[in-house]
């Protein structure tokens, strides 16, 4: 497995605010990554650092073995699709696709044509006049047709409807199968993309809190629900990620897989077991800080 990008102790500060705090993470070739986390967690900052758009405050970044900043041979193999890409005044999509080949050495014009038709993108309308979804489609098409060995999609589909999003997932998978490359997908629509991901990196308040194979994460947490006393008895001595209570009923989300005897024990106690989806897991893992903050605010 070849590492295409790696950071060590990567830190980015804006004045007294630490956007990224000593991040060690690596990306392997030919994998689809999910870069997940709440707004302001540091996802975009990390991707901007990896694509040479920002200078690090501390730490190292290596992309294809060297720093991405000012190295055009590295940058031509990277593609970063921003959530709200700005284009020059008077630009039309046709201009974007005309200049794209000079930025990306693997640009496939034919593939771009097909995607333009798929997304029904008007080529000769000014970008300023495009709808939010059409603007996102421009980015998605550039990201796919660039065939860049490392492609970052930062919330690429603001305003895209469900049909267009699924079109994006389908084309991404098809093209990835034909032309394997590293894809880093940052999104809040976790349930929609969960099965596309091979690896998940979860970032919270500038730190990596999870860096794991997506398959391993499936079923790695379970919600136990039933009468409070039985739930408490069952989760005693286990790490509980979240708790909820309504009247005499309670539910608790526990970390770790359950063995067959444990499942039988739960059934004997009259408890319901439910798997925790990747999205729910992310909410549990990153929602704690929010709850603590709210408590702090309430106390102040």
């Amino acid at each position: 497995m070849t590492t295409v990008a790696r950071t060590r102790g990567l830190t980015k500060r804006y004045g007294s605010f630490t956007a990224l705090d000593s991040v060690d993470v690596s990306f392997t070739e030919h994998r689809i990554y999910g870069l997940l986390g709440r707004n302001g967690a540091g996802k975009t900052t990390l991707m901007q650092l990896l694509t040479g758009q920002l200078f690090a405050s501390e730490g190292e970044i290596e992309v294809f073995g060297r720093t991405p900043v000012e190295h055009s041979d590295v940058l031509r193999r990277l593609c970063f699709i921003a959530e709200s890409q700005r284009y020059p005044e008077d630009f039309k999509p046709s201009h974007v696709f005309k200049i794209a080949p000079s930025f990306f050495e693997h640009w496939d014009a034919e593939f771009a044509e097909r995607l333009i038709a798929d997304f029904r993108l008007p080529l000769n309308r000014r970008i300023k006049k495009l709808s939010r979804g059409q603007l996102s489609a421009v980015g998605v098409i550039v990201g796919l047709a660039s065939r860049a060995p490392v492609t970052f999609f930062d919330e690429p589909y603001l305003g895209l409807d469900a049909v267009a999003r699924h079109l994006f997932y389908d084309r991404l998978l098809e093209d990835y199968a034909e032309h394997p490359r590293t894809i880093v997908l940052s999104t809040h629509l976790i349930d929609e993309v969960a099965n596309l991901l091979e690896h998940v990196v979860l970032i919270d308040e500038g730190r990596i809190i999870l860096d794991q194979d997506a398959e391993e994460l499936r079923g790695s947490a379970t919600t136990v629900a039933g009468p409070s006393a039985a739930v408490e008895q069952f989760v005693d001595g286990r790490e509980v990620m979240a708790r909820d209570r309504i009247g005499g009923l309670a539910s608790a989300t526990i970390d770790g897989r359950l063995t067959a005897p444990e499942r039988a024990e739960a059934a004997r106690l009259g408890l319901e077991l439910a798997p925790v989806s990747l999205q729910q897991l992310v909410v549990h893992l990153t929602g704690g800080a929010l709850a603590a903050e709210q408590q702090k605010e309430a106390a102040a």
């Binding site: 994998r31 689809i32 997932y169 389908d170 998978l173 098809e174 990835y176 199968a177 034909e178 099965n195 596309l196 991901l197 091979e198 997506a214 398959e215 499936r218 079923g219 059934a267 439910a274 798997p275 925790v276 989806s277």
Partner: protein, 120 residues
């Protein structure tokens, strides 16, 4: 796809089901990894893991440069394996529920026969 179990296992099982039902005959070619990935909208690495499981237990075989094929005898081996697990997976939970409701064995047997008649 069922959230609680690894997807690669579900992929392997769905291929097994198609072999057991005869949808995929012995000696016939199974879809490619990329076709499975596209159809189920899953990462190709996950689809590969599912199919590899079937290669490892001899249910399908790789023919270099052509694709993957169901082996001869795969169906009977799968049926035998499923029969072994049938009691634990289906009969025992049925009995647990029957006990809870006070349904005795004779009544249960009657219900099974009745359902079988309805189904056929």
């Amino acid at each position: 796809m069922d959230e609680s179990r690894p997807i690669f296992l579900q992929i392997a099982e769905s291929i097994e089901n198609d072999i057991i039902s005869g949808e995929l005959a012995e000696g016939s070619q199974i879809p490619s990894i990329n076709e499975f990935a596209a159809f189920h909208r899953i990462n190709p690495a996950t689809a590969l893991k599912g199919v590899t499981r079937l290669v490892d237990d001899g249910t399908v075989e790789k023919r270099r440069g052509i694709g993957m094929f169901v082996t001869v005898g795969a169906r009977s081996r799968l049926v035998a394996r499923r029969r072994d697990g049938f009691a634990a997976e289906y009969v025992r939970p049925l009995l647990v529920e029957a006990d809870k409701l006070g349904i005795d064995i004779d009544e249960l047997a009657g219900m099974l026969r009745e359902e079988r008649t309805k189904a056929s």
